[in-house]
Symmetry: C3
Subunit: 307 residues, 3 copies
């Protein structure tokens, strides 16, 4: 089966069938990374460009490893070395890169919609690796893959997402994906971090973490941007942690086999207590492993379709 | 045919035969970048080092893609991560890199003559990717390749180069190359940006852009270093743009099929009006595409001669 | 023969047999870098991550070239682009990288013991590429390889190490290695740069450079961190150079065929006079060449053992 779509810009526009196709393809790539020789020739002779306007280790590394394991050549461009500083527009940068005949461009940008803008002018596939507070589709796909691989399904599960919903592209993409796949999504966070009207996305909003967590099959803690502390969105990290940190006490009301997730990097003791992050219920590192498989799947589906 | 030359440091020292050889070799590499599998084994097992002391996206990326499409291994060193900060001399850095047995070194440096200095002490081929306001030979080669591929020739053409001639290594390399190949080169720019005595290079100097452009087959706009505005070399960007920006009005006096070129990155509305940059006469993106082919040709001619 | 050890964290814990095995394996890899096609398939499909929390050209480049010549895929992460800035712990960063199934991690960190900490929690091999003022085992191995390849042995040689012993991980690793292999190690440097009690490591300490150098078979000058000048550890670079710079005069008392070594980057005129650095006795560049071979050997022994 093929993905009839040039780009992956967000989860919002994906159908259930498309999500299932991506997750199944990702499942089939997990095994490659466990081989003695972790390499398949699928994308040999293809050029993948990663264009990161925000710093990142995990996501960029995950895409690069995914591309190399498919035998693609990778070119990594980050904003500090890019000619953006020279006043070129984003579209001109993208068209210039296109003129070098890449096969796919991965972009992360602090401006919501930036990937959509370049996808609209480029013939090559574009993958959104995070745009502002908008979407982070590969994160949501790896999260759904992780849940599905353990729970065997997404439909009917109760998933709690806890933290700074307003500024989280991870939350937004997961809400689109999980509700679409039939899960019931519950949010909790400080009132200043819950966007007005978010209920329209089909989620239930709580002001107490305990209510969101109760009987949850999955609890996902979001990363707090600690630099936001100075912006008066919440009084202090200490106060945030007292009310919204996942810990042994509040997790007790969740299902016994609850999955504890976090997109990383973790601020230990703030979003989640260290012992919980390392508990048997935590699948935080499995998320990272599945991230490589999801990205291999997308590179394959978008850039290797003709092979 | 072979290139009997260890390095490519400038256009000044190249013969007409050498330029023709490079352009013909580049023509033959264009097709590789349009294949399904964009890779030939020509430089397999070779190590190409790019050593950039000035930031660059386009040129570094172009060299890296060129090297990878020839199957070479690439090592990218930029000044921010380099030990230059630690007080090592450039020659010591170069000799250290040489001791790791690379097959070719590409260098960009803010000091004119830096590539020549290291080429003089290294046994490996060195390619100048831009040295101060001196030369940028691969840019001139890709410009000549672009003109020739469309016009079928260089000899007899009228080429206008507009802008900050004084600080432009692109202008200097193109003047050497185009006059050598029999084109007639006309310059225009603010008086403070035209070097005294440049007529000795075989060019015609104009103070009005309209005179330089009249009946031109090619018009090349140079990038303005906007940071120069503060150095009192020209009064303001606005005043520069009023007198020397390429636009629909002044381009009217050029030949109907005039080629509009720019080395990038473009400051839209300053060196060139946005509509002109995207018009049918603009070959700006074709220049970028040909850049990969020219660099593949040079890497092949200098590092793959024995294959 | 195989190396029965997961990591290379320091020379302190290596046995004489292990050092001999590494040096012999390195000898056998020298030839690969002189081939027309500098590549063997040994580590094809393996992923090597270099994780550098301190800037470096030479060491990072050396590891990258070594990995590529063994056909491994390399991922390069440096602190400026890493999520360390985001407050993640080093162990969490390491475990996240591990979750992407790398085959080996090379780490440089300003904190002594950092590589040991992550080696303790990772299943994959870890190579210490320099940790604070503690150890720099690959430098000592390439130094021993260089001496042995020319002198035919290490046992019985007199080796003088001159400079800032206190802050030098190069000195520390070489002292462990050279004494273990039977060489006699003599130190000289300003009193403020000789650690109290260092004699317990089996070395002889001198306050005059001439005494350390007398009849030496090898003289190793250490790099001065010039930024230390401001920290009052020594009065001035000029005064340091007057008393501890290697030069034609003081080298005269060494053996006629003394080897002059320096780990680089060299501050010319401070640790060593320029003419001496380029004399026939200098093996500084040979050290760099052997560095690639030593790193190929370690990558092979630690990551390719099953092949």
């Amino acid at each position: 089966m093929k993905l009839h779509r040039k780009d992956i810009l967000g989860i919002k526009e994906l159908s259930v069938d498309e999500i299932n196709l991506i997750l199944e393809t990702a499942d089939s790539f997990v095994e490659v990374s466990t081989r003695e020789i972790k390499k398949v020739p699928t994308l040999r002779g293809k050029t993948i460009i990663t264009l990161f306007y925000e710093p990142s280790t995990r996501t960029r590394t995950s895409f690069e490893i995914a591309a190399k394991r498919l035998s693609a050549d990778t070119i990594s461009i980050s904003s500090s070395t890019s000619s953006v500083v020279k006043g070129e527009t984003l579209i001109d940068t993208a068209k210039n890169l296109e003129s070098m005949n890449p096969d796919l461009i991965v972009i992360r940008h602090s401006a919501a919609g930036a990937p959509h803008m370049i996808a609209g002018v480029l013939n090559e596939p574009v993958i959104n690796a995070g745009d502002g507070a908008h979407e982070h589709p590969t994160q949501a796909l790896l999260d759904m893959m992780t849940i599905r691989s353990i729970k065997g399904k997404l439909a009917g599960l109760k998933v709690a997402i806890v933290g700074d919903i307003s500024h989280s592209r991870v939350a937004r993409s997961n809400i689109y994906g999980l509700t679409k796949m039939g899960a019931s999504v519950h949010l909790a966070g400080p009132a200043t971090m819950i966007p007005y009207g978010i209920e329209n996305m089909g989620v239930v909003v709580h002001t107490q973490i305990e209510e969101a967590i109760r009987d949850a099959d999955v609890v996902m803690a979001l990363r707090i941007q600690t630099e936001r502390e100075k912006q008066c969105i919440f009084p202090s990290l200490r106060e945030y942690a007292r009310h919204f940190s996942l810990n042994r006490r509040n997790i007790g009301s969740a299902a016994k086999d609850v999955l504890i997730m976090h997109p990383g990097p973790v601020n230990r003791g703030i979003e989640i207590s260290p012992d919980l992050a390392e508990s048997a219920n935590s699948v935080i590192l499995q998320q990272v492993t599945n991230g490589v498989a999801v990205r291999m799947a997308l590179l394959y589906l978008l850039a290797g379709g003709n092979a």
